[in-house]
């Protein structure tokens, strides 16, 4: 984004204007005032980032602009798309506006697509909703769109169903639908949360191109400050249903005015801000025992009618007591599969897994149960990792119940201590998972993993759903506990900055194979492999100036590797 472009944008009339927007959900006894007087303006060719705390009303504001709020929402204020007030449009006019003047990229790409229609059909529909086209024209335009959003082999992908595509591909399909009719405004709600850094970088590139080539105005909702720095011209910070600060990206990110903004930015982990040292120098005999050992492990998923997916290929990996091993790699590279395989939830097709010194295959029956006592688990998705019908307290206590540890009272006491450890109120013990936010749930998962004082913790993306500020707290906790109890930990994450801050050693995964492995500072600061370098360079930093430079560097890496591949 250049200064010139920003200037010209400031001149033109706003394409999206929000004036004193108030949204509330009456919902019986528990009225929620989600948005309490928001003013925003978005001009042609401009990217406005909407950041802020979870639950502050970002998505609701976006939905209001689309006229897609649930019927029970009460909306007051003015919401102009062009010069038409969305809140006063009838159904037919709304329909006419959607897609043509304003498009939306939804947060969860996989559920945003209709599972029973092909990708081509769904994009085609976006076109035919507003234009009279022949079938051939639709096909042609769909192909163009798929190419434009950077989907390889578009002709084939057109006939695919959503479940046959990866999350990143789905996200691009959703973007293709949003831009199909060339709307003046695109609202992108967390378009990259589910994606790893390389795909994230691709999506951002795509949005930037759209803005540049078509002058599309973009309202970008995200919690990733790196993304903000990379893409946004201006930033609005929301908290509790109001905008607490607005300004150019540079100004807000480098010189925040509001204290909330300051706190937010302070909590952002930055890659290269220092890492823990790996305990590698001690002689072999003194080394602490291995708590997890994978030897030439291969994992294949079998699906009838299709060739088996080799998710993990010849992976050898060891975690020792007192050591945190970070496992990084792009989405789908097999990180979670390794974790699951280590736990015996997925059988290894080949190779050996040794858990706390016992061969995985001998972990059946009561003996297996005894060994498993020493294992703590945090699974990737906090929403599904807790039984929705158990209170948080029961969930945390369950490993103790299974292994008959302590009396009822003792268990309750321990639960309270654990909750306190993860900075949750003791009262949370009586709540059900759905009564907690994603971040809170994730912390419950962590508390459960630690409840038996494990020797080995396998943590799969334990902080992905957290605000940066909460994330910071949790990471500190993990480091502290680990220092005290000295458990070994396999820490799976796609956030390199996070890994840098907790891991002693890092393992980089690509397509199920280990491409690089070593002490954290070596791997993340002096990467030997192109792929690692690409990963690191794709991580956006929350500073627009720095980020512009990094982007140029990353593009160079990309070009280089492309050339290497071609050559």
């Amino acid at each position: 984004m250049t200064e010139a472009a920003a200037d010209s944008a400031a001149d033109s009339a706003p394409v999206l204007t929000v004036r004193d927007l108030r949204i509330s959900f009456p919902g019986g006894e528990s009225r929620v005032d989600a948005v309490r007087g928001v003013d925003l303006e978005l001009r042609r060719g401009e990217v406005l980032a909407l950041v802020g705390e979870s639950g502050s009303g970002k998505s609701v504001t976006a939905l209001a602009a689309m006229g897609l709020l649930p019927p029970d929402a009460q909306v007051a204020g003015r919401l102009l798309v062009g010069d038409r007030d969305v809140t006063r449009l009838g159904p037919a006019e709304l329909r006419d506006m959607r897609g043509r003047e304003i498009g939306m990229v939804f947060q969860e790409p996989t559920t945003a697509l209709n599972p029973v229609l092909t990708v081509g059909d769904q994009i085609g529909e976006a076109l035919t909703n507003h234009e009279n086209l022949t079938a051939a024209q639709v096909r042609e335009r769909t192909l163009e769109l798929l190419e434009a959003v950077g989907i390889p082999e578009p002709a084939e992908r057109m006939r695919a169903y959503p479940h046959q595509l990866s999350g990143g591909l789905c996200q691009r399909v959703v973007i293709a639908m949003a831009v199909a009719c060339n709307p003046a405004v695109i609202i992108a709600d967390e378009p990259t949360t589910a994606l790893d850094v390389t795909v994230q970088a691709q999506i951002m590139r795509l949005l930037r191109e759209l803005r540049d080539s078509r002058g599309t105005a973009i309202l970008l909702i995200t919690h990733n400050m790196g993304v903000v720095a990379d893409l946004a011209d201006r930033v609005a910070v929301m908290r509790d249903g109001v905008v607490v600060e607005v300004g150019t990206a540079e100004q807000v990110l480098t010189d925040p005015q509001h204290e909330y903004t300051t706190a937010l930015l302070a909590a952002v982990p930055r890659l290269g801000s220092g890492s823990r040292a790996a305990a590698t120098d001690e002689p072999a005999a003194d080394r602490p025992p291995t708590v997890l050992h994978l030897q030439d492990v291969r994992v294949e998923y079998r699906t009838l009618g299709r060739p088996a997916v080799r998710a993990v290929d010849d992976v050898t990996l060891a975690v020792r007591r007192g050591e945190v091993v970070g496992l990084v790699g792009e989405s789908g590279s097999g990180k979670s599969t390794i974790g699951r395989c280590a736990l015996g939830l997925v059988p290894a097709t080949a190779g050996h897994v040794t858990l706390l010194g016992v061969d995985q295959r001998r972990l059946r029956g009561s003996r297996g149960r005894r060994v498993r006592r020493g294992v703590g688990v945090v699974l990737q998705n906090p929403a599904s990792a807790l039984d929705p019908r158990m209170t948080v307290g029961d969930s945390i206590a369950e490993p103790m119940v299974i292994h008959r540890v302590g009396s009822r009272a003792e268990r309750q006491q321990r639960v309270r201590r654990l909750l306190d450890d993860v900075r949750l109120p003791a009262a949370a013990a009586d709540r059900y998972p759905h009564e907690m936010s994603g971040g809170q749930r994730q912390r419950v998962g962590l508390a459960r993993a630690l409840s038996l004082g494990p020797d080995l913790v396998i943590a799969d993306e334990p902080t992905s759903a957290l605000d940066v500020s909460v994330q910071e707290t949790v990471l500190r906790l993990l480091t502290e506990l680990q220092a005290v109890h000295g458990f070994g930990c396999l820490f799976i994450s796609h956030d390199l900055a996070v890994v840098e801050s907790v891991a002693h050693r890092v393992v980089v995964l690509l397509g199920g194979r280990i491409v690089e492995e070593g002490a954290t500072q070596d791997v993340l600061h002096r990467p030997r492999e192109d792929y690692t370098r690409l990963l690191i360079s794709s991580v956006p930093v929350p500073d627009p100036v720095q980020q512009a430079a990094r982007r140029a560097a990353a593009d160079a890496v990309l070009r280089e590797s492309a050339r290497a591949l071609a050559g």
């Binding site: 689309m66 159904p91 329909r95 006419d96 959607r98 498009g103 939804f106 009838l304 009618g305």
Partner: protein, 317 residues
Amino acid sequence: MTRYVAGRLLQAVVVVLIVTVIVFALLHSLPGGPARAILGIDATPAQMADFNHQQGFDQPLVVQYLQYLGRLLHGDLGRSFALNQDVSAVVTQRLPKTLLLTGVSTLVAMAVAVPLGVWQAVRRNRAGDYVVTALTFLAYSTPAFFLAFLAILLFSQAIPLFPAQAPQADTLAGILAEPAALVLPVATGAVTAIASFSRYMRSSTLDNLAEDYVRTARAKGTVERRVIWRHVGRNSLTPVITMLGYHIPVLFGGALVTESIFNYPGMGLAFWNAAQVSDYPVLLGVVLVIATATVIGSLLADLLQALIDPRVRGAHR
């Protein structure tokens, strides 16, 4: 896919085999056996013994079962002593009639219930939804035999719109030549099915309306009607279709009532009459046919579902 279908067929055979075992065992644990019922109270003990010997009922049960299976493999369903006909003849005579009646009423039920359920879901908790809900509950809770009587009283006798008898022809063409006579039996069969199908449809439409993809479709500016039918409707059909497969035995039970009241001798009635006189071969044959139809029905339902839902296509294990 072929392998999947082959596997399913194999399982189907297993299921049918289990069915024959269960049915055979149950039938032969009936007290008394069929001799008295078939021969009448005038029958002498000698005649009954003779009959039992001829039918092989004096053999051990296992032997009888194996003999039965052996004949079954040759396509021989046995002979009905009460009807003096081969069971296969009884089945070929009556199955098409029952299939026609139940098939048409199921189609009618689907044609009404699917749009009705969707309509209700869209208008959830509004007056229209409540009225239809009340009506469907009423229909659901009215036993078919009562409904059939009411239909005849109202639409055949009070207001003579339709005949009280189903078509009496023996051929399908002959039956179809009297569409007016089909109205009441088809309607009786359809009403209960409409009641339950529309509840399923409403329910699954409600679930799907809450899905994110609906919002996406709307965000594209898709016409509401299209959102409902193309996006929601198709996704919501799956449970109804799955249910259809398992609906066949239920239909068959209903067929008994309609057949008996509308004078339409089909499978349901053949079964009932056979049960009255313990006509084992017919009972076994009919149950076998129904079981086979159910198994095939659920297989077809699965295939249909795979046709509608691509996720299912890949998920076979």
